[in-house]
Homo-oligomer: 319 residues x 2
Amino acid sequence: MYLPTPVLSSDLEKKHGLPPGWSEKFNGVEVRHHVSNENVADLGAEAAQQALDNAGLQLNDIDVFITAGASTDQIIPSQAAMTLNKMKGGHTANCEAFHINITCLSFMTAFKLAADMIQFGEINRILIVAAEISSLGIGPENWETLTLFGDGAAAVIVEKSKNHRSGLIKYKHQVFTEGLHAAEIPGGHVNKWIRDYPYDPSIHHFQMDSRQLLRLTLKFLPDFMNEFFESLGTSWAETDWTVPHQASKTGLNMIPKIAKVNPEKVVNILKTTGNCIAASIPMGIHHLISQDKLKSGETLFMCGTSAGFSIGSLLYRHD
Amino acid sequence: MYLPTPVLSSDLEKKHGLPPGWSEKFNGVEVRHHVSNENVADLGAEAAQQALDNAGLQLNDIDVFITAGASTDQIIPSQAAMTLNKMKGGHTANCEAFHINITCLSFMTAFKLAADMIQFGEINRILIVAAEISSLGIGPENWETLTLFGDGAAAVIVEKSKNHRSGLIKYKHQVFTEGLHAAEIPGGHVNKWIRDYPYDPSIHHFQMDSRQLLRLTLKFLPDFMNEFFESLGTSWAETDWTVPHQASKTGLNMIPKIAKVNPEKVVNILKTTGNCIAASIPMGIHHLISQDKLKSGETLFMCGTSAGFSIGSLLYRHD
C-alpha cells in the first residue's frame, strides 16, 4: 500500500473556508492523501514494488500484470504499460498486461479474473495494482467530495495454492443503469470532448448525487446480498471478515445493520484514507494482512458499489 | 459490426488540401468512417445488438458484458455501464460488466479472459464489444493519422461449446516499455490534466512515431511469434486464418513475409475501414464469418501490436 502526502481535514477546512470539524462530522474522514508531483504510475509502482518485496519476489516472477481503476495518466497508452514502465525491471518484464475499469469495483473484478486465470497451467502469479488520483477531479465547490476522496494505491499478488480449500468461492456483479448519472465525471472524453468543452469544474470534477446513490443502494443491495449468500447456503454473518469499499460514512454504517455482522469484523479505514476509489478495497485487505488478522482458512468478503451504478461482491477463502 | 458515416479519401484530401490519392497510396485506405453525433456507447450498442440478433439471443441470455478499447464516453462511469445503458434491455440486464483497455489489443485480451471464464460452470455466454472513436483525436496537422484511422464497432458472443476440440489454444501478450511514447495521446488525464493543459492538438491528438513502431515490431515480433508457434509444435503457415490488427499498410504487408502464409488467408479490410483501434480485429472476424469463410474445426490466429508498445497473439479453434 502506498499513500502520498497526508492532508489533514483541519488544514483542508482552513484552506477552503469550511467550518472546523465539518469533514469528520459529515464524512468521517480525518486525513486523506493528495499527490503533489506523482502520477498514477508512480503510486501504483510503489505499491506493486512493496507487494513484490513483501513476497520476496521480482517482477520477472509475475505472469500477468493488471492495473485496475478509474484513474489513468494518459488517454493512450493503457495504464498497464504506464505503470509497468515505472517498475523495477519494467523494461524487461515479460508478463501479460492490461487495464480494467469498473470504477470503484475494478480491483474486485480484477481479483475474480485473476482467480479464473490461475486455474490454468501456465499462469502462476498475478499482480493486481489499484492506484487512484481523485484529487484532480474534486474542488471546493463541493464540500462533500472535496473532503471524502483521497489518492493512494494498493497492490496484491494472487498465487496458485496447493491448498484445495482456499480460493474464490463466489463473485457477483451487476449494473443498474438507472443510476448511470448518479456518480460521474461528464467531461473529458467523447461525450464532451476537450476541444469543445474547456476545463470547467462542473463537468471535469466528480459529480455525486449521494441521495440517489443511497436510494439505489437501499433498493438493490439487500436482495443482491440475500441472493449471493442464499445460493451458497450460508450468510454474511458467517463470513470471517468483510472488506467493503470505503464509499462513505453512511454506506459503511449501513453494513452491520444489513449484514448483522460484528462491526469489528468489518474493515473501516475511511478515517485515515478517505474513499480511494478502486484502491480502497485492496487497502482494506492490506490492513487486515499487515495486522495479522486474516488467518489461513478464514473467509474474506469484499463488497461495494460503484459508479454505473453497480454492486459487486466476492467471497474467497484465504490460504 | 457497425460503421458510422463513410468518409472517402478523396473528400478528406480535398477538405484538408492533401494531394489527390495521397491516402490510398500512403496508407492504403480508400474509405474510413466518422461519427457525427454518435458516441462510443451508440456504436457499441449497435454492434452488440446485431451480434445478439444474429445469434437469436437477448441481452438477458448474456452472463458477462465486456467493453474493450481505448475510447470512452466519460472518465466516469466505466464504458461498460455507458454502453449497457444504450442496449435494448440494458436497464434490466443482470450480467456482470467491466471495461478492458490495452488499446489496439483490448479485444484480443477480452477474448482470452472470456475463454478462461467460460470454463467455469456458472458462465455460459459472454458478449464482447469493441467500439472506437478515433476521429476526435486526429487532425490535419498529421496526414498519416488523419487518413489512417477510422471509427467503428464490432461485437462477438463467446459461448460454451460441447465440442472439446474447439476453444482457445494459446494466448500471449507482452509489453515492451521502451516503446511507451511511440504511440500516445499525452494529454487529457493525470499527466497533463485539462485544468492545466487546455485543448491543443499536439497533446490531445494521437501522436505516432511510425518509424519507431516499425523498428520495435521488427526487433521484437519475429522472436515473439517463433516462440509462440514453437511452444505449440506448429507454425503460423499451418493456421487456417490470420486476423491481424489493421495497424497500417506497412504492417499488414509484412505478415505474409514473416509468416510465410498465403495472403488470401490473411484478412485485410484496411482499405474500407482504416485502423479502428481495438475494433479492427473483431471486424476482421466479422468479415470472415459473414462471408462464410471460417469453417468449423479451422484455426483462427489473431495478432497485432498496440500502443505501450505491446505485441499480442491468440490462436483458437472455431467450433
